[in-house]
């Protein structure tokens, strides 16, 4: 086991962690502000990948298709999630967790079959755009260019979210709503629309995650089930509603998984669950402070 192999595996793990973070950030944001457990988030991710596929395949598999897909797919998913929030979710904010879980799970089932209806049940795949094919090689460390791209996008999204939440008026209102919705209402802010906007932003992030993953995974039915579980684990380990906690735990799980694939390939799939289990037992309420 050479050092360069470890280093390239570390980078691959980090880039995978970035994707996890982008998806989990949306979930944790919705958790934090709306206090809703949104199982549909995985479906939004899947929709992002499928819509991205259609956009890119419609335009041709070149660079233009790729960039357009990265813009259009998340926006389309944000639109869909806005409809979901206005159409269904807004009616269960005051109900038990279990009812919310089941409502969003119902939407998971429906979304899964709708995707099957529109796209069919066979695998789809996109090739990476020309500028990102191949690998960077520094010395003996080789990393696929697309992973490097992901390593850049992840921090950009994190930075954007931080700027939005801490340095814009709207972001501050979002955080205030997370802490005390009633008070925000009393101060004359229409928190109903804050909820809708945050949910759409969450959907946008899930769609972005799906679109970013589209060139490197098999786009298939069932990609929602695995993703939503990972996103949940990340969000809970990070501390419910805490975006920085989600960032840390995404990277831990991404890197853990990558090293798992290197050292014990048969058991790599077990690792995220073990990591989560251990972290939750050590820190039952998450790594960082939960907003709840």
């Amino acid at each position: 086991m050479s050092v360069s192999m470890l280093a390239s595996q570390l980078l691959v793990g980090l880039s995978r962690g970035m994707i996890y973070f982008i998806v989990a950030a949306g979930l944790t944001l919705v958790f934090g502000v709306l206090r809703v457990i949104n199982f549909t988030h995985g479906s939004f991710y899947m929709l992002g990948a499928f819509i991205g596929y259609s956009v890119a395949a419609g335009i041709g598999h070149g660079s233009a298709g790729f960039w357009l897909m990265l813009v259009l797919a998340p926006l389309a998913v944000a639109g869909i999630s806005l409809l979901v929030e206005r159409g269904f979710l807004q009616f269960v904010y005051r109900r038990e967790h279990l009812i919310q879980v089941l409502l969003t799970y119902a939407l998971v089932l429906i979304a899964g079959d709708l995707v099957k209806f529109f796209w069919g049940s066979q695998y789809r795949s996109l090739s990476t755009p020309p500028i990102f094919t191949g690998s960077f090689a520094t010395g003996s460390i080789t990393v696929p260019k697309y992973n490097v791209f992901l390593l850049l996008v992840g921090p950009l999204v994190a930075l954007g979210l931080w700027l939005f939440l801490s340095h814009t008026r709207f972001g501050k209102i979002c955080r205030a709503t997370a802490t005390d919705r009633e008070m925000v209402d009393i101060l004359g802010v229409n928190s109903t629309w804050i909820f809708a906007a945050v949910f759409a932003l969450g959907g946008w992030l899930a769609g972005l995650g799906g679109a970013l993953m589209a060139p490197v995974v098999n786009i298939s039915l069932g990609m929602d089930a695995n993703t939503i579980i990972y996103a949940f684990l990340i969000v809970v380990v990070g501390g419910l509603g805490n975006i920085w906690g989600a960032l840390i735990s995404s990277l831990i799980i991404g890197v853990g998984e990558a090293f798992g694939a290197l050292f014990m390939p048969d058991w790599a799939v077990v690792l995220p669950y073990i990591i989560t289990g251990v972290l939750l037992i050590l820190r039952p309420s998450g790594l960082l402070k939960s907003v709840w």
């Binding site: 457990i37 269904f88 009616f91 269960v92 005051r94 109900r95 038990e96 967790h97 279990l98 009812i99 879980v101 089941l102 409502l103 799970y105 119902a106 939407l107 998971v108 089932l109 429906i110 899964g112 079959d113 709708l114 099957k116 209806f117 089930a225 579980i229 949940f232 684990l233 809970v236 419910l240 048969d266 058991w267 799939v269 077990v270 669950y273 073990i274 989560t276 289990g277 939750l280 037992i281 039952p284 309420s285």
Partner: protein
Amino acid sequence: MSMSWLDRSKEKTARVIPFRPILLVSLLGVAALLPPILPAYYLYLLTTVYMTALLATSLNFVLGYGGLLQLHHAVFFGVGAYTVALVLTKTTWPFWLAAVLAPLVAALLAAVIGWFCVRLRGLYFGMLTLALGQLVWAIIYKWRSFTSGDDGIHGIPLPGLVSSPTSVYYINLGVLVVCLLILYAVIKSPFGLTLVAIRDNPVRSQSVGVNIKRHQLAAFVLSGFFAGAAGVLFVLIEQSVSPSLLYWSKSAEILIMDLLGGMAVFLGPSLGAAILVVLSMVVGTYMDYWLLVMGLILLLLVLFLPQGVLGYLQELFGRKTVQGGERDAAN
């Protein structure tokens, strides 16, 4: 997390005619007489309903009565089924030993998982059950040399006595009735009442000296035991097991059954299981989009009938158990 709409405190109203016991006993009588006249397919369907009813009721014991957000119940079901399958294919032990061992293994696993989970509350509890349950799934999925991985185990050899459809039917019915009676007795016992008290007011329960964690852990283990028993029944019916038995979406399906039937009524989950099993078989034969149908049913339920079918019927006829006004006020 408030579960006060599951409140059963008004149940102690005076009963004049034992209407419900009579109805249940006659239903049981009909069920016992059915096998000779029923075509094989319907016999299989009913047998599956009994097995699933036990599974759904075992979940409702912790979920509805214990108020614990158990999001991964299928694990104990799957581990029970796998225990029987592995014992029968890897050892020469008799069937009865495997059938006794399976619920015990499931209960042991529930004790381990529960030991970690009961230290957490609400959502965190639910998420840890999900994480640890998926861990068990991943182990069974990946441990190819021992569990055959994603191929599952098929053609599990069963002794002649328990392999004919009719005998499997009666075993399922018998096990269901016995297990439901035990669970009902537990719910009505001081232990069960304490459990409900903890669900409704944990702070107060603790202040009068109840050990919350110990009660919740005991309930968790007991429900794991009965889910394991349902796993044994599953092997009797299907003679095969696969890792999908303990994937998280299976757990979600059981949750839906409980909600569908009604979590505040003891037999609600059984009715929910019956509806869902029959619907899945009927719809599944006519169209490819069974999940869409299940999703729509669930959507309508959540939005318009959160007390479940049996809960709703109970509201209509006589005993008022769920109070809409209080439900809103409680949140």
